[in-house]
């Protein structure tokens, strides 16, 4: 565990050094992320300018949700997304060879070896929004809820990571896997809004598929509901269990896929 933390520190350090070698690109990427946040908040303010309630969520609760989503997205993008996207190129070029030869867990090395520092501010901004929303709600989060909320938030991150890893593993067979980003975009759209917006009858298939089978709808909704709404024990436990199941499944699938790696010619 300590060794993995030391390695993560090294990956983070060398990624930052690499990013700083191209400062303008780094700063531009941060600027784009800030513009995205601005658009998201403008949209949010416009909606709540017309209505005080969206699918049972008031403005401050919804702001908490947006903050949690933004932090989760930032977490996945900072640590995993770039590595997973790059995986298909590693397979195509044969450079995956070097990752597999290193004496460390291949999943750990392949999915964490580069940290995208330009998206790291999103995590901080997300938690600032969460704190601001708590302040506006006027009822501070009880102390016992804080660690549990963080654990559920990490379960949401783990679920998102597992989806990414499953999609990433397919690159071994597909070689070119641009669909990964498309599917990831679909998942982020499902996670972006509270699951209650799919409560109507026509959305039943979406609710069933993305609420239970591929539970993207739960990744942000359940931790936030736990923090600011009535606690739904069944769904909270379900998220906890499904996060572990998905993590194990995706890990097994990833290791299975590596057996089919053909290593591009020299």
């Amino acid at each position: 565990m300590l060794r993995h933390l030391r390695l993560m520190f090294c990956f983070a350090k060398f990624s930052l050094l690499g990013e700083l070698a191209f400062r303008s690109n780094f700063l531009l990427k941060i600027l784009v992320e800030l513009i995205w946040l601005g658009i998201l908040l403008t949209f949010f303010k416009t909606i709540f300018g017309k209505s005080s309630n969206v699918a049972g969520w008031n403005e401050h609760e919804f702001l908490f949700f947006v903050g949690a989503y933004y932090a989760l997205e930032g977490f996945v993008e900072t640590f995993f997304l770039e590595n997973c996207v790059e995986f298909s190129e590693l397979v195509r070029s044969g450079n995956l060879d070097f990752c597999l030869l290193k004496p460390i867990d291949p999943q750990f090395f392949i999915t964490l070896r580069r940290v995208d520092w330009s998206t790291a501010p999103k995590i901080l901004l997300g938690f600032i929004m969460i704190s601001f929303a708590m302040y506006e709600i006027g009822k501070p989060l009880e102390l016992w809820k804080v660690p549990l909320f963080l654990i559920l938030f990490l379960c949401g991150c783990s679920l998102a990571y597992s989806f990414l890893l499953l999609l990433t593993s397919l690159s071994v067979w597909m070689i070119r896997n641009q669909s990964l980003m498309e599917v990831w975009w679909l998942f982020t759209n499902l996670m972006r809004y509270p699951r209650q917006i799919y409560d109507s009858e026509w959305a039943l298939p979406i609710r069933m598929v993305f609420g239970f089978i591929i539970p993207a709808l739960l990744a942000v909704s359940i931790p936030v509901e736990f923090a600011v709404k009535e606690i739904n024990i069944e769904f909270t436990l379900f998220l906890f269990v499904i996060a572990i199941v998905y993590f194990q499944l995706s890990r097994m699938f990833f290791n299975y896929s590596l057996k089919y790696y053909r290593s591009a010619s020299s």
Partner: protein
Amino acid sequence: MIVIKTNNLSKQFRVYEKPAGLIGSFKSLFNNKFKDIHAVENINLEIHQGEIVGFLGPNGAGKTTTLKMLSGLLFPTNGNATVLGYVPWERPIEFRKAFSLVMGQKSQLWWDLPASDSFELHKEIYKIDPVKFKKNVGELTEIFQVDNLLNKPVRELSLGERMKLELIASLLHDPKLLLLDEPTIGLDVVAQSAMHRCLYEFNQTRKITILLTSHYMRDVETLCSRILVISGGKMVYDGQLQGLKDEFGKEKLIKIQFKNLVPDQVFSKFEQLEITGGIVRLRVSKNDVPSVLAVVSQCEEVLDISIEDPPIEEVIEKLFVSHRSKTL
């Protein structure tokens, strides 16, 4: 001590065949055709500690596929192998710590960072003791003479400089086995010689076993006493380099320099490669060498004479041709 042992090691690939053109592409959407390629067939070999073995073969012969199976990157279709006492494709951590694979066409250094940063990362990944790490970096940079390159971003280095640093990175954790896949590709003669010197020194001082593929015969002649030759996925020769020369190089190249022009008919019964001015180059069988010398002794004013083996490239080519004609 046996470092590498294989028993009927084989690898078959299924290759997708797509007909050319737009219609062919559409057809292949519904009717995929595959072809099975035998990249490596029944390879049996034993390599002992401290040996430097050259692994030769034409393009597509199966050299890299064999190296990748020995390093655990590819699972064989048949047969088995042990490398340093481990089954490579099980990829145990201890095995991965004990060897290095260097590929001349691929880089494991971080492109935008100086090599010293990549070395630091290696230290953490391989859990190298800090004192040993410092000692190894010092020794290796001295052997490879690259002290002044450690802090330059890798992308700004020349190919030769980068290859030296790639080799240093692969040696930092004191591997017992070094698998080199065309390590001198694209290097100039000076850089190649430096690489030979460093590898030889490393082999002598640390008793590291080296298996090397290369298309440059200089690499093989300078470094390897034993060579393996593979053609069409099959091992066609395993033995001393001199043995190969004796078996397939039954001819000699003779160069004679005369002070004056020599009439063509003097050497007409031998294969003449070149007669320009006073220089005569002949290719003769070993048995005919005395006859050539007898003719030369009757000539006047001989300035110089040399008798050489044919270049090793020619010998290897003969071996490939002979193997191909046997399999057809």
